[in-house]
Symmetry: C2
Subunit: 443 residues, 2 copies
Amino acid sequence: MADGRLPVGTRLPATRTLAADLRVSRGVVTEAYQRLVEDGHVAGRGRGGTVVVAVPVAAAPVRPVAPPSPGDVFARRPGDDVFEAFRAARASIDLSPGVPDLASFPRQAWLRAEREVLATLEPAAFGYGDPRGALPLRQAVAAWLARGRGIRVAPDDVLITAGVSQALGLLAKALLAGGITTVAVEDPGSLRVRQHLANAGLATPPIPVDDDGLRVDLLEAGGAPAVMTTPAHQFPTGVVLGPQRRRRLLRWPGLVIEDDYDAEHRYDRPPVPALRSMLDRVCYAGSVSKLLAPALRVGWLLVPGEHRDAIIAAKRLADLGNAALPQLVLAELMSSGELERQLRFLRRRHVHRRDAMIAALRAHLPGARVHGAAAGLHLTITFDAGFSDVELAARVLAGGVKVQPLSWHCQAEHAPGLVLGYASTTPGDIATAVAAIRRALPA
Amino acid sequence: MADGRLPVGTRLPATRTLAADLRVSRGVVTEAYQRLVEDGHVAGRGRGGTVVVAVPVAAAPVRPVAPPSPGDVFARRPGDDVFEAFRAARASIDLSPGVPDLASFPRQAWLRAEREVLATLEPAAFGYGDPRGALPLRQAVAAWLARGRGIRVAPDDVLITAGVSQALGLLAKALLAGGITTVAVEDPGSLRVRQHLANAGLATPPIPVDDDGLRVDLLEAGGAPAVMTTPAHQFPTGVVLGPQRRRRLLRWPGLVIEDDYDAEHRYDRPPVPALRSMLDRVCYAGSVSKLLAPALRVGWLLVPGEHRDAIIAAKRLADLGNAALPQLVLAELMSSGELERQLRFLRRRHVHRRDAMIAALRAHLPGARVHGAAAGLHLTITFDAGFSDVELAARVLAGGVKVQPLSWHCQAEHAPGLVLGYASTTPGDIATAVAAIRRALPA
């Protein structure tokens, strides 16, 4: 039927006949005919026999798509799909920032935790759930934030989201409903975050970042009602918001949205407490994207009480709440201490790779300034020269290495630079990649 | 430190002293101090010793919340959180519609498939992914829809979503961007679907449903530019859209959105092909919520070419794409035939429960009319009398049984009725529940 040899209207052989032809028992043929009837492809017509009534179709084939060339990826101002094009581009070594060592994902621990979860789960847990997230995960996240980030929050005030990206979208919705149409952002600052806020309908005026972090004085002067900030480890510069700036920001009457995206990763400096640990009216977003894997799409959002119902309603409307199983597995990994162990393991591995990158930069690119190496999963280099870092990144990609130009993450003019993720790359590949960057530099 | 006995400024004992006090090796104490330093709770002050600098906080406790009473759940017009209140209400037997037998979730098969996926996954798959969904799942869904629903679609044209709820939200966004502000809905029709569309900013005028399904003549007369419909098994009445109505709807120039929510579950009638199998410009939404479990939050959406880019952009903005692991596990279950086996198993179980419910209705409620019993996971009963089905459902809940009043799902006046899910309830409980309904009926 599928290949057209038995068109609609064809009468199938009697089960007895076909069974004899194929030398199988008649029961096998009867069962096969029965399934075809159930699927609606044939119908029994009594004395008229069994007749083909609908021809099954096959899925249309996958259309092969060529990966984008370096010229395609970097040809224009980065659009909304820039990170997909960047990801799809071919390269031997990938220094994209924002991921931990992906090869270290604790597959065995994940599977063990999932087995435990499945062994004891109530059937009702497979039904529709709480849009705020599964209670065991909200409890585990509350404990994690208390222990690691100094944040005291009740599990009922934790909203589980599909990563920080979704958290920003939900928040944007609540803010817009409350009449807030502008969220100031750091400059330099994450392009992806800026795109998300802008696509959600918010204006995103830039506030400059210097060596002490966000220029809170300029935030005050600018008059925006809200600001998105990365105080513990600014993206992409890596600076920490200075103590005076912190105090000033906490006194600022606007709404502070804290993106605590990679606060757990620090090497040569004491931890910086979250702003949210000082002030309950800070919106706080975090995720497991930098702790375990972006592909898990699990994050959390804390909002001040007056936005709470709007945020829950937005999450309900978005997807009725995160999927249950991964939440419960993650809760198990958090409460058993497995995630803490994984983090300690990652810290050792990441600091080693960070050191390898700094050594390679000193050897190959002594003229580059290195920023933000004390923490996180990436560092940023800038050059004291006037050239296009987008063109540099395109040449580096043509040489087989994927790096993001700093200017993607800048609204105002800025020294040319590159954002270099090191967490998911071996020291050998890091050295090779930095050498490739040197070869791609303008003479 | 946590309980306040060592406030900030306290000097900890020397490691040697504490080790001797506790009769453990000094290395243990040194390691413990090191972790406290890393976590920022103490700091080494050289000759000043080790000093407490920040007191760890504990998560705030869970506030116990009493489950809502029957009066609370049914007191008012159903609000956006009605299904959460309904779910949170206590009952011995739950006849909520819309779930398959949750106790049959194939836990072992899921775990086996996950082990296989994790054994071979590239590290890069733990990073950020394609917002359209993982290619193996898009391929498996395309094959599933071809085989079971007669739909020919390329994997690149399948968008994986967090269930039909998210699909509706994404679609609403694309439609609003394209100037469509009204989507007509079936009446009776799913309250949840109507709430989702309305919350997304769409008007949802009702189009009556009769024994032949959607009144396409009234749709034409109403002038709405789009309609949301459940042609294979109308929710909640269970009627099938008649052949003449189908043809007329396919000729209608507006946009048809087909919610194929439980098309795989049918017992006494041949399958009804999807409208989308006849016409490419139908938007089509489906999910695994009725096949496996709503808690998986995985569905799919097919849209005509002109809405494709807008839908992908909406999904990217929503959450950057579904989580990878559950998608790959599901793809494995679909392509290995495991999901097909599960569906056959469920059909046998569900038809048995459906029969048990009909028998109980005949015995206890001979005056009730039964609708839509040939397929699906629920049936609907109506009464030829004038009373409030909301009050009836409240009395039934007070008697320990959870049922939804038909009027929740109606915009226009309708005979009182109840929507009774049977798929996740044992035959014994079904009989008990129907007896409880009879006791709750007005005298």
